[in-house]
């Protein structure tokens, strides 16, 4: 009660004070209002711009860690030397499954002894071939384990080129940096280099939308297994 009384008593005093200095106050008030609005706007812009910077520039840098392949591999040299271009190493097995990344057994024919003078070659032969260890290649195109993809259906039946999805990797002379998503553990190539997900080439991204897009463009979406009952489980398992 006492507190209440004090306040109620003070209110008239304050209003009295206000009234006693009307000109000064009225001059200042609009300026102070502009300042507040300016600060608010400024902060809004700072927040806005800052988050854009974070979202577009900082976030991608934080999201991906940079890893190097255990061996710097030169596709161009190999494609030139082997007989069957890509299929010399990335072939279909007898049962129709795709071999993917070759194992040492495929390399040993030529690389039993050191070829050339590069440090990578020495490491490959001495540390992997000689010791019978497989090279832990980082696979740019590895899909999550819950995704099933049949190379045979696309390459053999759909007659697609490797380049359509994998780009011109066969012409590369060095292994580029492998960017690993810190959350999922998969390669940046799946989402694509562009953090917004925009793509220019068919091989820029490997998300499900990209599968769907191609199926739609080639008009396979109306007669393919994906549209039948239980179609989800053709690719997701």
């Amino acid at each position: 009660m006492a507190e209440f009384d004090e306040r109620s008593h003070e209110v008239p005093n304050e209003s009295e004070n206000d009234i006693s200095h009307p000109p000064a106050e009225s001059d200042d008030n609009p300026k102070q209002g502009d300042g507040v609005a300016g600060v608010v706007t400024l902060f809004f812009i700072v927040g806005f711009v800052g988050s854009l910077v974070v979202g577009w520039i900082v976030f991608p840098k934080l999201l991906y860690s940079q890893k190097h392949q255990p061996i710097n591999f030169n596709h161009a040299v190999h494609v030139e030397m082997v007989e069957n271009s890509c299929e010399s190493c990335h072939y279909f097995r007898e049962d129709g499954s795709f071999s993917g990344i070759p194992q040492n057994a495929a390399c040993i024919e030529c690389h039993e002894d050191i070829q050339g003078e590069t440090e990578d070659e020495r490491i490959f032969v001495e540390e992997y071939i000689a010791k019978g260890r497989e090279v832990p290649w980082l696979v740019y195109s590895r899909q999550p384990d819950c995704v099933f993809f049949s190379h045979a259906a696309h390459v053999k039946m759909g007659e697609m080129d490797c380049v359509t999805c994998h780009g011109h990797i066969g012409e590369s002379e060095t292994s580029r940096v492998y960017e690993e998503n810190r959350i999922t553990g998969y390669s940046r190539d799946i989402w694509g280099r562009n953090i917004a997900g925009f793509k220019q080439n068919s091989w820029d991204r490997m998300k499900m939308n990209d599968c769907a897009n191609c199926h739609r463009l080639n008009d396979v979406n109306q007669n393919s297994v994906q549209t039948q009952r239980g179609g989800c489980f053709k690719c997701h398992n």
Partner: protein, 741 residues
Amino acid sequence: MKIDRRSFLALTAGGTVGTALTPLPWKLTDDISIWSQNWPWTPVPPGGEATHVNSTCTLCPAACGITVRKIDQRAVKIEGMAGHPVNDGGICILGVSGLQLLYGPSRVKTPLKRVGDRGAGHWQPISWDQAVAEVAQKLGELREKGEGHTVAAICGSDRGTLPQLFSRLLTVYGSPNFFALPTIHDTYAMTLGLMQGGNPQAGFDVENTDYLLSFGSGILEGWGAPVRMFRANSRWRSGYGKVVQVEARLSTTAAKADRWMPVSPGSEAALAMGLAHVILREKLYQRDFIKHHTEGFNEWQKGVLAGYAPDAVAAVSGVPAAEIEALAREFARARRPLAICGRGQGNTPGSLAESMAVHALNALVGNLQRPGGVWAMPEIEYIDWAEAEMDALAVAGLQQDRLDGAGSDGFPYAKYLPNRLVEAVNSGQGYPLQALLVSGANPCYSLADAAAVQKAIAAVPFVVSFSSFMDETAVNADLILPNHTNLERYEDVPTPLGLTRPIIGLSRPVVAPQFNTRHTGDVVIQIARAIGGTVGSAFPWPTYEACLQMTLAGAWGPLNRDGFWEVPGFQPADWAHAFETASGKFEFTNAAVTSLALSEPIVLPGDEKAFPLLLMPFDSMRLTNGWVGNPPFMTKAVDDTVLKGDDVLVELNPQTASSLGLSQGQAAELQTPVGAARVRVNLFEGVRPGVVAMPTGLGHTAFDEFIAGKGVNYNMLAGPVADPASGLDAAWGIRAKLTKA
């Protein structure tokens, strides 16, 4: 410039709007969903090249063909081999679970030497050279001292090159004490030997039978080759035939049969004779066969007509006389009737009298050597090694009696009596056993009265186990010389018992040996050579594989290609040529048969007053009770009315339970003259009042944490009963007492 609350709100608002215009929220949502769908700690098998290897499963005697799917060097799936004579693409739960044995933690990874007390589990890894040298040295010493006959070997079976190498080793070394673990097939072989002559195995043409009369055989519990029997049963179920199950308990087989005839346990032989009585009295037998191809019929008929009238049999078996008569007529009038015996999976040899009575039923209806009947299956004699040279020590050792008395006057037809070996060691009869080799068998678990077996093994100064797994017998050994598992080694598998197609199966390496194990065949050869002299020279092969290849000769190629080899164009001999008895006919009785104590009853151990109940085992497809442990995949499939947590449930009729004051799930103390165990009670009206039914295959104490400690081993409570006629274990239960815990 004044920074206040509103400024921060503005900053946040700007940040929110800005963030919404960046890919961050959408990208994060996507990443988190991928992460949550592929938890990084979930093990994912590596991808690779898929290949398939054809082999033969040796986890049970059925010897099914298997096709193992591999990804690179790892076996990932075991499937039934399409087109195989036993299982044609099917597979049982044990076969499927075989990978858990290959990759599981119960493997013995290197030769081990005991360093602490027996059974304490303290081992020292040793090299193979040392392991072989130690065994050879010990055996060499015993032989030099003239004690070669005190060495025994126990194998799971005596068929195939690996057991035969052990048998040969003991022979040239100078010991008569080679053992295999007998089953119903030993009793069947004895039955056919006595009634049909020669040395055939019984084959059952279940594929063509249209009326199966089963005396307790668990055709859905793993009798014979399970996949084959399940398939035959499916055909009968789809209208092709009829199944009558004579069994004390409502087993799965009984529940699925066309008719279940609950009998007083132990009265099966009498019931078979009662059926024979009706068939004889009403002259329903196959006259042509009886007249032209049998001997001793009249004499046998006299006995059956005199002693097994339906009324008398009804009093013993509890089956009404009218039902006996009706069943006999139905059986005799069926087109291709077949009567079989061997309780459950047939792992206990059982009563010879019962087997002969059941076989006589088949003879009465003339269903021998015919489609749907019993066929005498000759062994494929491919193991034809040069006779080994014997030195004086070997000859002297072999003149000693076998410790179990098998083949002696008391048990002239028995080949191996492991229960009597245990008894001899424990009671000090005969000579003391100095060394024991165990391969492909786990007697400390699977023989009746397992505690007595363990005691006997503890009394043997030198025990060597060749087990791939740390089983109950290996735990009690001095040395473990681990064999490759069935998926890592070559081994020949002769015609599975009961099959009507003579084949040889080949078990072969699907994956490279995972550990520092060695093929027991190689180890036997190396031990023999280290002993030297005539023992060594009896083993001219550099390796087991070379031995196998030479032994199989022309079959080796097809075996490697297809996984099995079949005798081309096999047909059962006709009646005129099938019987190798003195008369050349089927003999219902003869001098050898009448000399046997076939009418003596089988008395179960235990006093009826102290142990008022009967404990009976039952087998299940989901629990293996052989020499391997139950893989966890199988244990997962066991009902919680059988195993709840780590407690076994025994089946009890509600009537018996209420008289004992026991209710569903209640804990109780189960006592037999042999042992005692804590169990829980499962009320089940399919079991007779006064009977306690207990699953086999539980209660392992060795292997690993996933196999051991689940339930109780029936064999720790059971005791063997020597069949008065054969000497083989014929116990079908034991007297017991159940009290509230």
